[in-house]
Amino acid sequence: MKTRVFVTLKNGVLDPQGKAIHHALEGLGFAGVNDVRAGRLIEIDHEPGVSNTDLEAMCRKLLANMVIENFEIEQA
């Protein structure tokens, strides 16, 4: 069973990497891009017995830093 975890920076947290990507896109001539925020996708292959509560605990304890990041769990 596969679950995808999306880790993104909280609103209001400055994202220098997103800014650099944004500038690079503009440098390549892509117009109309208002903002870019970079995040991380983590795919977890696990047994069906791993509960949503377990997955949330994984996110809180390791996968996301709750000071600066949010997470979203998407079951395949």
Partner: protein
């Protein structure tokens, strides 16, 4: 005096840290591997050194903060044992929850490697007693993720409680309120991005880092 320097895979300032501690404090200093579940007894100082533990995978310091030895470090910190985290060590201490906030990618997105001016903000701590409040000192930095972040409420509280130990005299990496070094609420844990262990004798271009270690002898011995 007895000290331990924690080694993670990817630490690269562990030996420099051990040399600085031994030379300046005379402490019996041991290197402790991250897989250990306990620390040597009767420690007067634990140092979490700089480097790129676990290749900075996931987030700088994130993997190291969950390694077995860090539970023992957190427990020791709770008992009041002084803990010094430098650079990657600072990142590890925030990831382990010993210090508030987080260290993010430098605002410039560039690795910053140079000697910077710091202002000593708090000269009352066990780590900074050898400095004068407001004094300007020179200490090198070498990091990619030194941009300190905490929400405004936390920052106001930290400032109000005198927990900002060092501030960059000029912007270096985008850190909130130019914070370079931070104390925990009981004052026995210090995290800082600049490397005091790299500025301890004339051949380093200065010795302003020396007094940080010297302060500890006076407090502990």
């Amino acid at each position: 005096m007895r000290a331990a320097v924690i080694q993670f895979p990817g630490s690269n300032c562990d030996r420099d840290m051990a040399v600085a501690i031994r030379e300046i404090t005379g402490a019996d200093t041991s290197l402790v591997w991250h897989r250990e579940t306990s620390l040597p007894e009767r420690l007067d100082l634990i140092a979490v050194p700089g480097g790129f533990s676990y290749g900075d995978y996931l987030r700088s310091g994130a993997m190291a903060a969950r390694s077995p030895v860090m539970q023992a470090v957190v427990e020791a910190a709770g008992r009041g044992v002084p803990v010094l985290g430098v650079c990657n060590g600072f990142q590890i201490l925030t990831e382990a929850g010993l210090l508030p906030g987080a260290l993010m990618r430098n605002a410039s997105i560039r690795f910053v490697c140079r000697t910077v001016k710091l202002t000593v903000e708090n000269s009352q701590s066990i780590f900074t007693g050898g400095y004068n409040a407001g004094e300007e000192i020179r200490i090198p930095v070498a990091h990619h993720d030194g941009n300190y972040f905490a929400d405004d409420e936390t920052l106001d509280r930290l400032e109000g409680e005198g927990r900002v130990a060092f501030r960059y005299a000029e912007p270096v990496n985008g850190s909130a309120r130019n914070i370079a070094g931070l104390l925990n609420d009981t004052g026995n844990v210090l995290g800082m991005m600049p490397h005091p262990e790299r500025m301890i004798e004339a051949v380093h271009g200065g010795s302003d880092g020396r007094r940080l270690f010297a302060s500890l002898i006076r407090e502990i011995a």
